[in-house]
């Protein structure tokens, strides 16, 4: 038996510990009524101890936990199923002023004079949460900035590449060094001209991308007959097909089908799909364009007889500035923006751009435009 003053000493120490603790300590009885609270608990919840003692601990919880709490204790006492006991967890508390805040709660069980009691240790983590949230936000901004920087660096690189041949060609021509060599001069003029065009296309694509990203792309939706739209797409791109000696052929397309689209924007998508099909097809092959009615609307199909898209590249095909990694395709030209823009345009029409590609069967791109209700845009008229 310790001596009485030793007992007092021990009690004083325990009391001092409880009273100076940063964490709140609350004990409740098996009916959920509060038996003791330490000063930290008073501070955290904003109550005086006399406002708490003998009251149901559920008053410190927000709905719906407040209503469910009596059930927990009962459930535990009858079935032994633990929700929080022995398991530290993050929960929400409610302060006297109604504020709801995140806290960590650890509950342990004890037996005092044969009666089951529970001790809850409560840590207010709202500040930590706040810091974490701020940190996440800052990291998100850094990440966004990095993506923007990378984009600008890539754009600068892509613009400088055609500009390099243009400027060098013109500088050489202007110097007069080739006055006696009409053949080389002609080559340089061609190079300058071709690359100016490439530069222009690139600038248009970059403008499109920036409009898409800032959601400033304008769409003028009108209803147009699908068949004549596809015919126009083919005739507009014929020159391109000729360049690669690929023939565009209009296959099946029921006459009655119409689409509700911005014709210019959707034509841009068709041009990219048709130019891709031509670029990546062997000479003297055909590219089939067709359309069909589907369960949900209309599907436009562009099918080529090329080598397909390499499987490992397929997941990246819609990313910006991505091209299948082969020098042969680099030589073919393009910047890898076409499909990214096309997808954004189709999705703006609430449609879907997808593909199916294999070495054996070539590549098929699908534009799926959904049918909407009577008032909606993407109708199929009978």
């Amino acid at each position: 038996m310790p001596k009485p003053d030793a007992v007092t000493d021990l009690l004083n120490r325990s009391k001092a510990i409880l009273e100076t603790m940063v964490d709140g300590v609350i004990t409740i009885n098996n009916k959920g009524l509060i038996d003791t609270v330490n000063p930290a608990a008073e501070r955290i919840f904003g109550y005086q101890s006399r406002e708490l003692l003998g009251r149901n601990v559920s008053m410190l919880m927000p709905s719906p936990y407040r209503e469910e709490h009596d059930g927990y204790i009962h459930n535990y006492l009858t079935t032994g199923t633990k929700k929080v006991i022995d398991i530290g967890r993050e929960v929400r508390g409610q302060r006297k002023n109604g504020d709801i805040f995140p806290m960590e709660l650890a509950v342990s069980e004890m037996l005092i004079k044969g009666e089951r009691m529970f001790t809850g240790i409560v840590r207010d983590i709202s500040e930590r949460k706040d810091t974490e949230e701020k940190l996440r936000e800052a990291m998100r901004r850094v990440h966004e900035q990095r993506i923007k920087d990378e984009f600008i660096s890539t754009v600068s690189h892509e613009l400088r590449t055609p500009l390099t041949s243009i400027k060098a060609s013109l500088d050489i021509l202007k110097s007069g060094a080739l006055t006696n060599d009409p053949e080389k001069s002609g080559t340089l003029i061609d190079i300058a001209q071709k690359n100016s065009e490439r530069l222009l296309l690139l600038i248009n694509d970059i403008l499109d991308i920036s409009k898409i990203e800032s959601e400033k792309m304008q769409y003028r939706i009108t209803r147009i007959p699908l068949r004549s739209f596809l015919e126009t797409a083919i005739s507009d791109n014929r020159v391109y097909g000729d360049k690669y000696q690929v023939r565009y052929v209009l296959g099946e397309c029921p006459d009655h089908l119409t689409i509700d689209v911005d014709p210019d924007r959707m034509m841009q998508v068709m041009s990219n799909l048709l130019s891709n099909a031509a670029k990546f097809s062997p000479l003297n092959t055909e590219v089939y364009v067709s359309a069909e009615e589907t369960e949900h609307g209309v599907r436009i199909v562009v099918k080529d007889q090329g080598k397909g898209i390499p499987e490992e590249f397929q997941p990246h095909i819609f990313e910006k500035f991505t091209q299948a990694d082969s020098s042969n395709q680099r030589a073919i030209g393009g910047t890898g923006l076409g499909l990214h823009i096309s997808k954004a345009i189709v999705e703006h029409h609430e449609g879907e751009l997808s593909f199916n590609s294999s070495v054996k069967n070539g590549t098929e791109f699908y534009i799926d435009l959904r049918k909407k209700d009577r008032t909606g845009a993407y109708n199929v008229t009978p």
Partner: protein, 132 residues
């Protein structure tokens, strides 16, 4: 001043065909250098076996094997490990240039380049290299 041969043979590895054509005119026709142009890293490394380049001009972004990979192949080749290598690139921001120099390139030329001064620029780099 140390005695060394003057710069005559340059190998240029570049995937953009049009840039190869203009650079070839700039270096060979205008600059009087014996220039060999190749479209890819592997092609350029193969050319080195028969074409004893004194200086190698190297594009950075190329599909397949990029410029830095070509550089490290060159540095691993006994015959060329000390050959000056000059990157020529459209990545021109200071940190990008520093990064390329840190890989062991002797100089970085940015695109667009000056075609009329290009050969002289390479000769200057060549002289600096021998003075160092």
């Amino acid at each position: 001043m140390s005695h060394h041969e003057s710069l005559e043979r340059v190998l240029y590895i570049e995937d953009e065909e049009d840039i190869r054509i203009v650079a070839d005119i700039a270096l060979k026709t205008i600059g009087g250098l014996d220039t060999r142009c190749c479209a890819s890293g592997p092609e350029g490394l193969a050319a080195l076996e028969t074409f004893p380049a004194q200086l190698i001009l190297l594009d950075v972004m190329m599909p397949g094997m990029d410029g830095p990979s070509v550089l490290s192949e060159i540095r691993n080749n006994e015959q060329y490990q000390n050959t000056p290598v000059v990157f020529i690139t459209a990545k021109v921001q200071a940190d990008e240039v520093d990064q390329l120099l840190s890989l062991g390139a002797n100089a970085v030329i940015s695109k667009p380049f000056e075609p009329m001064d290009m050969a002289q620029k390479l000769r200057d780099i060549w002289e600096d290299f021998h003075r160092a």
